[in-house]
């Protein structure tokens, strides 16, 4: 099926076209949903088959290119529309289509009764199309096509309920913000591409990576390339300083948050860094930047997550934080650990969002966790799955999150240094805390909602079955990536599978210091202890003694305010960037420079000519008799002169 891999993008595109053009006419919304889900489901099967086929190939032959047509051919630039089917793209494709399919199915239930359901499924399909192009593209330009395409779908889906209010503004403002901030990242990505083309004279992955090893290129050039690309990644994957769009992106329907803003699109940056690992590995300074940005983002987002009251906001900041983890991993050279975390995160974070969606669904669109409480008995399935996901993300041993998180922390310590590990561990503690704060406030305690208006109920099977599947994956998903300390030198299946992709980068980095197994187990125990303590503390506080939280908030009012308002980053950006540009453009550029200065000069030139003419024109009175008088006087003078000169 490798040769038919293009069907995995074509099918969702077909779904988009069918639902987009004819969806409005299809009266039965179930059919719309089935079309939307089936195309993605089929894509998943095709990817699965291609994956199995690739598994059967010897390691050297696992990277295959599927050529479709020549997209751009200008001068020395030849861009093929081609897909690269290798270990990395297959892994990502499985996540995208697999989790994507589950979320499509879930959406049939979640979006029931919405008038725009055909539009919703059309956009979702378009998203899968773009995302598959992103992960399958065999060159930077196809990747960029997907890269911008997912940004567009994100824009369309965040603003899906375009007539609704969202926080202080509207959903469409949130959508625009997401697109524009992403564009800032894309600007960096574009420049990175140009520099790559200039340096390596190609934009094809295989050629560029081969030449990156062969060409004598200065480290500073690699540094710039990596920096530009990383700017792109910070935009798409919501890292400092461009993370501000992701929390606002929660304005979209919850399945969108699960699919785009948790499981797939936001990990595109991680995928890209991981795909271009050799370029990053050749620029050690930028690797450090990546690790630092990742660590800081993880920490900062986690602190904000501690105090948020909107269920989706907590999850959004949690996503930002987990993405920071992935970049931390990439930054310390553990690319396969970062992709591993992408995968496990896709499982449990999609599950968390879908669970949140199920809660919101059952609570009549209420999102404030302070108005939940005691929902355990009303929605047992949602509760059970949500609980599993919370355990997984907190890093409780045995669940998926534990393995990937531990892998990252271990690499952060052994390749990065103690500080990176410490930040990671503290973040893990906070993650466990805010996740169980969420669980407690939502499912335990007394019921704080208005019983007259709200009647909590469990969601239908079409929504809970995807939850259960994801819960299953969140439990077992980690066992393909067992740490070496338990499974032996070649026991980490996931790492072995991806190893050929990162071999050149690893060779360049040449690290893996000589830490002992004892150290690894010790650190692992500490992080597990921290996570367990976080869980315990959260349960203790929010289940038994809510006063503690209140007192704490009162005692550290300033800090609480700071966190609740997300460090005022939005406000600072608004005041420092948005307003100056907007006001400057209006007052200085338009009203002054354009209207007064430039157009004033143009019209001024015309006015001057007009004024001068006004003066000269007075000579031309238009009275024929005065012309005649002047003529006669002239003749008389000429005659006089003639007579006198005789």
């Amino acid at each position: 099926m490798i040769n038919y891999i293009y069907l995995t993008t074509l099918l969702p595109l077909l779904g988009f076209v069918i639902n987009g053009l004819f969806g409005r006419k299809i009266k039965n919304e179930r059919i719309v949903g089935i079309i939307g889900s089936a195309t993605v489901g089929l894509s998943f099967l095709i990817v699965l088959d291609a994956f199995i086929q690739t598994l059967g190939l010897p390691v050297e032959e696992r990277s295959n290119t599927v050529n479709l047509f020549t997209w751009l051919s200008v001068g020395g630039l030849h861009i093929q529309f081609a897909y690269l089917v290798d270990q990395l793209s297959l892994t990502m494709s499985l996540i995208v289509t697999g989790v994507g399919f589950l979320i499509h199915v879930y959406s049939i239930g979640y979006m029931r009764g919405d008038k725009g359901i055909w539009r919703f499924f059309a956009y979702l399909n378009l998203f899968i199309f773009a995302m598959m192009n992103l992960v399958l593209g065999d060159n930077f330009v196809v990747l960029f096509l997907g890269w911008e395409g997912v940004g567009l779908c994100s824009y369309l889906l965040i603003g899906f309920w375009y007539d609704r209010k969202f926080e202080k503004g509207t959903t469409s403002q949130a959508a625009k913000k997401a697109f524009v901030v992403n564009r800032i990242g894309d600007f960096g990505f574009l420049l990175g591409m140009f520099l790559i083309y200039m340096t390596f004279d190609s934009l094809n992955f295989k050629e560029v990576f081969a030449r990156a090893q062969a060409f004598p290129v200065a480290e500073s050039t690699f540094g710039l390339i990596a920096l530009f690309l990383f700017i792109g990644a910070t935009g798409k994957s919501a890292q400092i300083p461009l993370f501000v769009w992701l929390p606002d992106a929660m304005a979209g329907p919850t399945p969108v948050s699960a699919l785009i803003h948790a499981a797939t699109m936001v990990t595109a940056g991680v995928y890209m860094v991981s795909r271009t690992s050799i370029l990053f590995a050749s620029a050690p300074a930028i690797m450090t930047v990546v690790a630092v940005v990742g660590a800081l983002t993880a920490l900062m987002a986690a602190t904000i997550g501690l105090v948020q009251n909107d269920i989706k906001k907590v999850l959004a900041y949690s996503t930002v934080s987990q993405l920071g983890y992935m970049f931390l991993a990439a930054g310390v050279g553990a690319f396969s650990a970062s992709i591993f975390h992408v995968m496990t995160h896709a499982f449990f974070k999609a599950l968390l969002f879908l669970g949140a969606g199920s809660v919101i669904h059952g609570m009549h669109d209420e999102q404030n966790i302070q108005k939940y409480g005691g929902l355990k008995k009303y929605m047992p399935k949602t509760y059970a799955t949500f609980f599993i996901a919370a355990l997984a993300i907190s890093g409780v041993p045995g669940l998926a999150g534990f393995f990937s998180k531990d892998e990252i922390l271990w690499n952060a310590y052994s390749n990065g240094g103690f500080v990176f590990w410490l930040i990671g561990a503290v973040t893990a503690l906070m993650t466990a805390f805010y996740m169980f704060r969420l669980v407690s406030l939502t499912f335990y305690g007394h019921e704080r909602f208005d019983h007259h208006h709200v009647h909590p109920h469990e969601s239908p099977a079409v929504m809970t079955v995807p939850l259960m599947i994801l819960a299953f994956l969140s439990v077992v998903g980690g066992y393909i990536g067992l740490p070496k300390v338990f499974a032996g030198e070649h026991g980490n299946l996931f790492e072995n599978w991806l190893e050929p992709i990162y071999a050149p980068a690893q060779e360049k980095l040449a690290m893996y210091s000589s830490s002992t197994h004892l150290e690894e187990i010790l650190l692992m125990s500490i992080s597990v202890a921290l996570a367990l303590y976080g869980i315990y503390f959260a349960l203790h506080v929010y289940r038994k003694n809510p006063k503690i939280a209140e007192n704490f908030a009162n005692r550290f009012k300033g800090l609480y305010k700071l966190l609740l308002n997300k460090y005022f980053v939005d406000e600072v950006y608004e005041a420092a960037v948005v307003q100056p540009i907007q006001k400057g453009s209006e007052k200085v550029l338009w009203k002054f420079t354009d209207a007064k200065l430039i157009d004033g000069t143009v019209n001024g030139a015309a006015t001057i000519v007009d004024k001068i003419s006004g003066v000269i024109r007075k000579v031309q009175t238009g009275v024929a008799q005065s012309y005649a008088l002047i003529m006669v006087a002239g003749i008389a003078l000429v005659l006089l002169w003639l007579i006198l000169s005789l």
Partner: protein
């Protein structure tokens, strides 16, 4: 030489049509509309025939038809096309019938004269693109001002007289400088070649031998004339006025084709005629282009009038084209040519869409609208596609042009600096800001005015017939640009070669 009459047929179809339409009676409005549409469609068919017979591998001018005209001065009626001009000819013949169709309801006053003006305008534009004699070129260049002047001045908005006069005098001012330069050039050529000639092919050989200092002046005179037409910052202020006051059809043709005459002139005349000066002044021109990109985008962002917003966005988009031309790499110049077509399609589409709203409500201020997605979903979708194309989303046409231009300018040895590209690329961000902001304010949210519910109706069949072909090409160029890139490759290379041979030393 073998004569090929196809281009002459193409050129004279609208000319004959415009004369015939004058014999109609004023009351025969519907007849005049259909007649105009059919004539322009015939012209489109002829241009398609030319396209299919065109040999893209041949960098020379093709379909040449030469007839001696003014014998004593060796001036001849001399037409022909290469890949670049063919593409622009196709754009012209493609947009004109669509534009005429879009005015079906909008123009009620003096339909006969309007049809006459449009056809005459089409002939003028075609003439500019196919002339191979600089004298003939100049005649078309000036002649096409006249119908445009009337289109703005008669069928325009409130301040139409001001706008049309400004448009006319501003462009005329530039053309006169060019006329002086043309005269000097031909006199100089007669000294060099021993005979007076206005043939472009001959002048290509003469231009580069002009003494350095004088060539700079010549370049300046030509450049100024084209720069006003493009328009390049800071010569752009006629454009918003003209666009705002012009009727929809006028705006579409103005943005779609007329502005391209400026950039076409830069490629066809400034570069090959004065290669040394072009290379010397390329950084300077590029600075203006980049300022135009950012400035146009920022000013566009804060506009309150939809048409003005689109007009300023044109300044920004054409900045990309100029940057591409003066980066002088194959990628960037090809990108510039494609971007000319893209801009014609996407900005043309945007003007048509603004016109559709205006026809229904007679309002152009963004603040009046809001929430129309509910009332006119089809319109909202099409406006979204047109905006995205203008934003440069990969998969649609705008991306191809911008990508090639930026890529080419990044590695351009003529500009020899990344800063041009880095600043120009910020235009990509701002484009998203101003268009999406406009879109959000017009389309999303709650329905803002009750009037909208009564007055707005979704697009009808005629309007769909106008928009669908444009959207079709927007997607085509985005997905498979090679159809068009192939057409221009040989011609672009030959022009760059002409520049390259004379400037090898300069670049070292």
């Amino acid at each position: 030489m073998e004569q090929n009459l196809l281009l002459t047929y193409l050129l004279f179809t609208p000319v004959v049509g415009s004369v015939l339409v004058l014999f109609f009676r004023n009351e025969q409005k519907q007849l005049a509309r259909w007649f105009g549409l059919i004539v322009s469609f015939v012209a489109f068919v002829i241009s398609l025939v030319i396209y299919f017979r065109f040999d893209p591998a041949n960098p020379q001018f093709q379909f040449i038809h030469q007839v001696t005209w003014i014998k004593s001065l060796n001036i001849s009626y001399h037409v022909g096309v290469d890949g670049i001009s063919l593409l622009l000819v196709l754009l012209t013949t493609f947009l004109t019938p669509l534009t005429l169709l879009s005015t079906w309801k909008a123009i009620e006053k003096n339909v006969k004269m309007f049809t006459f003006s449009m056809l005459f305008l089409e002939a003028g534009m075609l003439g500019v693109f196919i002339s191979l004699d600089i004298f003939l070129f100049y005649i078309f260049w000036e002649a096409m001002l006249i119908p445009m002047y009337f289109i703005i001045g008669i069928w325009g908005g409130e301040r139409r007289i001001y706008a049309s006069l400004k448009f006319f005098i501003y462009t005329m001012f530039g053309s006169l400088l060019m006329l002086v330069a043309i005269i000097w050039l031909t006199v100089y050529a007669s000294g060099m070649l021993g005979k007076f000639t206005t043939s472009l092919v001959d002048l290509y050989k003469v231009g580069p031998t002009i003494p350095h200092q004088i060539q700079g002046w010549m370049f300046g005179a030509f450049f100024l004339s084209f720069a006003i037409k493009v328009p390049i910052f800071p010569l752009h202020t006629w454009l918003p006025d003209a666009h705002v006051e012009a009727p929809t059809a006028g705006s579409v043709i103005l943005a779609g084709v007329l502005l391209k005459m400026g950039t076409y002139g830069l490629i066809r005349f400034c570069l090959p005629l004065f290669p040394q000066s072009a290379v010397q002044y390329a950084p300077l021109v590029s600075v203006l282009a980049v300022i135009g990109i950012i400035y146009g985008a920022l000013v566009s962002m804060v506009q309150t009038d939809m048409k003005k917003l689109v007009a300023y966005s044109s300044v920004s988009h054409l900045g990309f084209v100029v940057l591409g031309i003066f980066a002088m790499t194959v990628e960037s110049v090809q990108g510039a040519v494609i971007q000319m077509i893209n801009h014609g399609l996407s900005t043309g589409a945007l003007f048509l869409l603004v016109g559709i709203l205006y026809e229904r409500t007679h309002r152009r201020d963004i603040a009046f609208y809001g929430g129309i997605a509910k009332i006119v979903p089809l319109y909202a979708t099409i406006l979204m596609i047109a905006s995205l194309s203008s934003i440069g989303l990969p998969g649609l046409n705008g991306f191809i042009g911008e990508f090639l231009i930026l890529l080419g300018s990044f590695k351009s040895p003529v500009l020899n600096s990344w800063w041009f590209t880095i600043f120009a690329a910020t235009g990509v961000i701002f484009a998203a800001v101003y268009l999406l902001w406009m879109y959000q304010r017009i389309v999303f949210g709650e329905v803002k005015n009750e009037e909208l519910k009564h007055e707005l109706t979704d697009m009808n069949l005629r309007e769909m017939i106008v928009m669908v072909p444009i959207l079709f090409f927007i997607v085509w160029i985005g997905v498979y640009p090679n159809t068009f890139l192939k057409l221009t490759e040989a011609s672009t290379q030959s022009i760059l070669q002409q520049v390259g041979t004379y400037t090898v030393n300069l670049l070292k």
